[in-house]
């Protein structure tokens, strides 16, 4: 949220400025577009496979940024522990995935 530094008196008196729905609708449209690109890349399907997979993972990664940043408010202040917690999870999960992809059937 943009304006969080209200004093205690302001807190009770003033009507707060609430964020409008606009940026969430923008995030929604961005997610839809990223999803469409991913589906289109697969349906078009002529280019080589590893390039398509690269595109797919890029689109998924971007969409996670959009959704966690805007919808889960991770881009806002006071989300240090939230970020540490999620990143910690990602590090372990990513290690598992690398292990499964490149090591299990080595």
């Amino acid at each position: 949220m943009a304006a969080v530094n209200h004093s205690a008196t302001e807190e009770t008196k003033k009507r707060h400025k609430h964020e409008g729905p606009q940026k969430h609708i923008v995030a929604y449209i961005m997610s839809l577009v990223l999803t469409l690109i991913a589906f289109a890349a697969v349906i078009a399907g002529e280019v080589n496979t590893s390039f398509i997979i690269f595109i797919l993972l890029m689109m998924a990664g971007l969409q996670v940024f959009v959704q966690m940043g805007f919808w889960m408010h991770m881009k806002d202040k006071g989300h240090g522990f939230a970020t540490i917690s999620i990143l910690g999870g990602i590090v372990i999960a990513f290690t598992m995935i690398i292990m499964a992809e490149y090591w299990v059937w080595w």
């Binding site: 997979i53 797919l56 999620i86 372990i92 995935i97």
Partner: protein, 206 residues
């Protein structure tokens, strides 16, 4: 909790963070989500290791998956994430009825997603893709089914929260529950982004 003295309509700004208990609930929930990332990460790693292990004569990912069903499911869940964020905004604006309305819409989208998934799984079983058919099918049902179970739990949970808010009103006690359930719902949507990418689209690419 002095915040109890707030009359309805005079809730503090961001009522979910007005009490220490509320802030701790949100922090604890982020730690839980970190653990959920690990949980789904391990299921994804199992799926990635086993997705080509189809066995003789069993349906492959490419033969099985129908992209239009997946696209509809994706659209439903993405839209439900937007309505969930509208519920959180209504919470911040102290608009109880609007919030409940958006929560109900979110739950309905969740139910639609679940219905589609059940239909999809039934179709797969009909095509000879049961849980024990192949290593691919087992890891597929475990991963996608676990996500579906999360959606089912979310529907139940948000449904109960709607009931509680109707009974007790929007207070500093109920607000953190609404906020945290919104985080959960977005997280479910984020997991689905990886499921439609890794399981379905990459399954089609090969």
């Amino acid at each position: 909790m002095s915040a109890h003295s707030h009359v309805e309509g005079q809730l503090p700004h961001e009522p979910e963070k007005a009490t220490l208990e509320g802030r701790n609930k949100i922090l604890g929930f982020w730690l839980f989500l970190g653990a959920e990332v690990v949980l789904f990460g391990t299921l994804f790693s199992a799926f990635l290791a086993l997705r080509d292990k189809v066995g003789d004569g069993n349906p492959t990912a490419d033969e099985l998956f129908n992209l239009s069903t997946v696209a509809i499911a994706t659209f439903i869940l993405l839209t439900s994430s937007l309505t969930s964020v509208f519920a959180t905004q209504a919470l911040h604006a102290g608009k109880k009825n609007a919030m409940i309305g958006w929560l109900i819409v979110t739950v309905l989208f969740g139910l639609a997603f679940l219905g589609l998934e059940i239909y999809e799984f039934a179709e797969y079983v009909h095509e000879g893709h049961g849980f024990t058919t192949s290593a691919f099918s087992s890891s597929f049902y475990t991963l996608v089914g676990f996500h579906g179970a999360h959606v089912a739990f979310g529907v139940l949970w948000i449904g109960l929260i709607i009931g509680q808010v109707l009974k007790k009103g929007l207070t500093v006690v109920t607000a953190p529950k609404v906020y945290v359930s919104g985080l959960y719902w977005h997280f479910i949507d984020v997991v689905w982004v990886f499921i439609f990418t890794v399981v379905y689209l990459m399954g089609k690419v090969g």
